[in-house]
Amino acid sequence: MNAPDKLKPRTRFDTVGKPRRRVDGRAKVTGLTRFADDIVLPRMVHCKLLRSPHPHAVIESIDCSKAKTFPGVHLVLTGKDFPVSFGILPVTQDEYALANERVRYVGDPVAAVIAKDEQSADAALGLIEVKYRLLNTVASAEEALANPEPRIHDYGEQGNIHRLQAFEFGDVEEALKGSDHVFEDLFFFEGNTHLPLEQHASVAAPDGEGKLTLWSSTQVPHYIHRALSRALRIPAAHIRVIACPNGGGFGGKCDLHNHEIVVSRASMILGRPVKVCLTREEVFYMHRGRHPVLMKMRTGVTRDGKLTGMHLQTLLDGGGYGSYGVASTFYTGALQTVTYELPRYKFDACRTFTNKPPCGPKRGHGTPQPRFGQEVQLDKIAEKLGFDPAEMRLNMAAKPDSLTANWLKIGSIGLEECIRQVVDHSDWKKKRAQLPPGRGLGIACGSYLCGAGLPIYWNKMPQSGVQILADRSGQVTVFCGATEIGQGSDDMLAAFVAEVLGIDAFDVRLVTGDTGLTPVDLGSYSSRVTVMMGHAAIQAAERLREMIADAAAMELEVSPERLVMAQGRVFLAEDPSKGMTFAEAVVFAETKYGTLGTVGSYSPPRGPGRFKGAGVGPSPAYSYTAVVVEAEVDQNTGWIHVPRIWVAHDIGRAVNPVLARGQVEGSIYMGLGEALMEEQIFRRLPPKMSHALVHKFPSMLEYKSLTSLDMPEVFTYLVEDPDPNCPFGAKEVGQGPLLPVMPAVANAVYDAVGVRIDEVPITPDKVLRALERKAKGETPRVGPDHFPSVPYPTPIYVKTPWEGGDGNETKSVDRKHGVAA
């Protein structure tokens, strides 16, 4: 159910839209925020995991006898103790808490020791003897295609192909044939990881009734609750998952992790609290980060710069397990239609298994890779057609209240305003292509979901629930399963409730992210919290407001419609002196209605697509972003310096502008890191001498995250055009602004020195190589040079909305005419 109909759109706000101290700000600056590793419980023991030193092997035997008798050791667990497989998606239950008989990457957990302290547990790990039989390894997506045997998993499409998907919306070949120009480009986006500053930690403990409580660094306590119940074969009613505030998530704490299952089981066996905290190296092994993706993009355009059709093919390197990979695979194509008008669209995707830590969702989930490709390709198109790249984008921006070729319903679009803002502020028209050699500007745009339309397991229940309790003390307590990961989830919740009830956000007490106490919210992922939790919170607060207003109105002998609730008071609109405090009004309400509690919930509208696969991509709204990057490139060394970035983000409405700006600038930060230096890469040793396939540098030092000195000046502009499908008009801001950064850097480098780096990261050695090619008269480009043969299936064919489609698949297609036979 959505917000009550009688709710008139608000025109004035007391809390929303005002820059405020976040409600959890004080805890964060005093060291009182209790992250999972800060939890200390009586009788707590400590867990360490033994991880595979081999990238691919069969476990022949494990001897734990010496470890079990090591002083201080309480328990040793192996794969035998975890017979049930798990996985975050119902379709990929392919992981084991501890490997059952096979290890699939260096770092795959094999055994666990629980001991009186970490030191003893560590020492005992060294006494566990594991015999492995080594298997051949697969190090890349291309190798996975070329080597179907040995299979890393015995499920999937074939060989080491995990997943194949193909969709066609209108006849794309026909569209390309009819285009004035067809551009074909290959792009590669290297994998990278979240690198939250907080290393994952969990504490599991039995409560007084012997039921399990798990405190964990997780973004998705509800999903963990479900998956844990299945993996441990314990009824969900006997498990309580508490999401601690996360010290950064970025998508890396969205899976059920091996260690969470291990400490849960261990605490149930030992009857005492068990803690685990991963080392930084182990965090790199948990990964679930950005998939490396090879892309082939064929795009047709008219001579006046309109897109006619696009055929996108992607090849993903998924790592050793499924994780969210099926969803990631869909997302490498699903949102490609949302930014610009695209009449026809075809999309083939393939995810492979490799012997590396599993990839999954990272900020932008699957969409930054094709966004990079499209935005760089548009730059090439603009140059060829002789257009200003910003003007060309303005000319093709998607239109509000429209449907896309792949049946996504778009509401408000602030893209054009975003482009104008960054163009104006960066002095684009005077600077682009006119700066001295070695300096340049690049532009790119993007769009992103405000919450995934469907949950990860099939159900029609609400995706966010909020419960509010108010009592005669005037206290308001709000319960919601949403999870604070730094983005301001708690602050949004307090702000929405405070706004509706007319009280101060600091006067709202919050209970969040606790499956034992709070209504289900699906968690902090897919930029869903502001929109989905916001709707639920407003609904619950409106219902409470109605009861309070009713009771107060009766007392004041006026009709409730004439009352205003603001600034901690309930009063007559035309005579503010006539009224009472909020707390007094609650007393009347509790007197009239009995104990006061209301609930609110939200389920997003179903997308109009009806074909199989239409569930990925729909969202209540889409945010838009435009970015201009300035780059200085040294012609002798290829060294890249980015002094300034301008970003405009269509946020609908900024609930707390301080936090909104922080999300934009944080996205620019992470995007620039991905553009220039962050990469999760691996290393083989000479195959004749070694079987090794290791993460090249699982450390904070060598995984390059920008320092303050590397961060350019960022100019942020929030474009506020309230979206009618969003709470108070507020759209997402946590992920969208990241997407345009990487291609804008690539385009700026081109403007500066005339070389194309068609892959990420864009490093000085690649720039120098491209400059050398340019000097020799060769194509001044560095990037992938071939796309392997992938057995993509016949696509699911869906007619576009403007070609007579109804959102269903059209079987048996007459290609010549693009219509069903």
């Binding site: 991880r51 560590d122 080392t279 190296e281 060394t637 070694s690 090249k696 030092l701 000195l709």
Partner: protein, 339 residues
């Protein structure tokens, strides 16, 4: 949490006392000053000394003595070195090198002596024990092969100190003290081109003092290549010191390179400048010479071939700065701080 192994701990007050403990305990004892190199290495089990001998309380190692040159105690923190006006003015290359080591916090902890004794580094080595086990270790620790070049008889770990190339270009000497007595060696002679046996300091010796010669007529500079403006070790360090005649003619020149060998590389590239003025041509020629002798290995950050390709440019930056060119913009783009 990564834990240190057990060790015995001594905190002597004097160099003599420290030397005595080292002599008594034998090679299983190690010195610790700032700990910024040793502590991570111990957490990763590169070293597991039975005994740690802390130099923190040895006040005599923290002095700065003026004379015709300058004597710097090895126990001075890098921050203290940077804050010395004399270092900044007369030994600019050392200042620029010290100011670019790691981070503010690590410079507050790490010492000049420690940076000179910095263990050699390698991406096959500077990893946790578990990672090293996954490659079956390497010859520097627990294994018997060098994965950088499997045919290599010696370890190819890289000298990653910033201050050593700078001090070598400045003609510094260091004093080594043991119960056997003391000796002074030219800093350039302190190092071997061997990733394991990289330093000639004996385990029973304390490096106590760095002596810098009279700076009259000399100018110096240090340029560091690394990915980020903080934290990162050099993947190339260029230290240049030149003695100019009043008319700008080069009377003496020393160019040393860091991070392109298992030791700081004292090159002969400066010799080509002697008797000439710093022109674009003489600078380019010196850069080309230095680039020729640089032998980056594939065991640091950034592309190995590119790291060699840019040596000449970086030598050029240093020499142009010494010539008096305004290099502030370039410096800001490379170092990301004004130096």
């Amino acid at each position: 949490m990564m834990r240190l192994p057990w060790f015995g701990f001594h905190a002597p007050r004097t160099v003599a006392e420290a030397a005595k403990i080292l002599a008594d305990e034998g090679p299983q004892a190690m010195l610790i000053a700032g700990g910024t190199d040793l502590v991570p290495n111990m957490k990763r089990r590169h070293q597991s000394p039975q005994t740690l001998v802390s130099l923190r309380r040895v006040e005599e190692l923290k002095t700065i003595t003026n004379g015709s040159g300058l004597k710097l105690g090895a126990g001075l923190s890098l921050t203290e070195v940077i804050q010395s006006d004399k270092v900044r003015a007369a030994y600019t290359g050392l200042y620029q090198a010290a100011a670019q080591v790691a981070t503010v916090h690590l410079r507050n902890m790490g010492t000049l002596g420690g940076n000179l004794c910095l263990d050699t580094r390698c991406t096959y080595l500077n990893q946790n024990y578990e990672w090293r086990k996954a490659i079956d270790f390497c010859m520097k620790k627990d294994g018997d092969i060098c994965w950088v070049a499997t045919a290599s008889k010696r370890c190819l770990a890289v000298s990653s100190t910033d201050t050593a190339p700078a001090l070598i270009s400045l003609g510094a000497k260091v004093k080594l003290v043991s119960t056997q007595g003391e000796r002074e060696v030219l800093l350039a002679d302190l190092y071997n081109n061997d990733g394991i046996d990289y330093i000639v300091r004996r385990p029973d010796e304390v490096l106590t003092e760095i002596s810098l010669p009279d700076p009259a007529g000399w100018k110096s500079a240090y340029w560091k290549l690394r990915r980020r403006g903080a934290f990162d070790f050099p993947v190339l360090g260029v230290a240049a010191a030149i003695k100019f005649a009043p008319d700008g003619t080069v009377e003496a020149a020393r160019i040393a390179l860091g991070a392109v060998s298992s030791r700081p590389l004292a090159t002969k590239a400066g010799e080509s400048l002697i008797g000439k003025k710093l022109t674009d041509e003489t600078i380019a020629a010196a850069g080309a010479k230095a680039q020729n002798v640089a032998k980056p290995m594939d065991n640091t950050d950034l592309d190995i071939y590119w790291r060699k390709d840019v040596v000449s440019s970086f030598v050029g930056y240093a020499l142009r700065e010494l010539r008096g060119d305004d290099m502030r913009d370039t410096r800001m783009r490379i170092a990301r701080v004004a130096l």
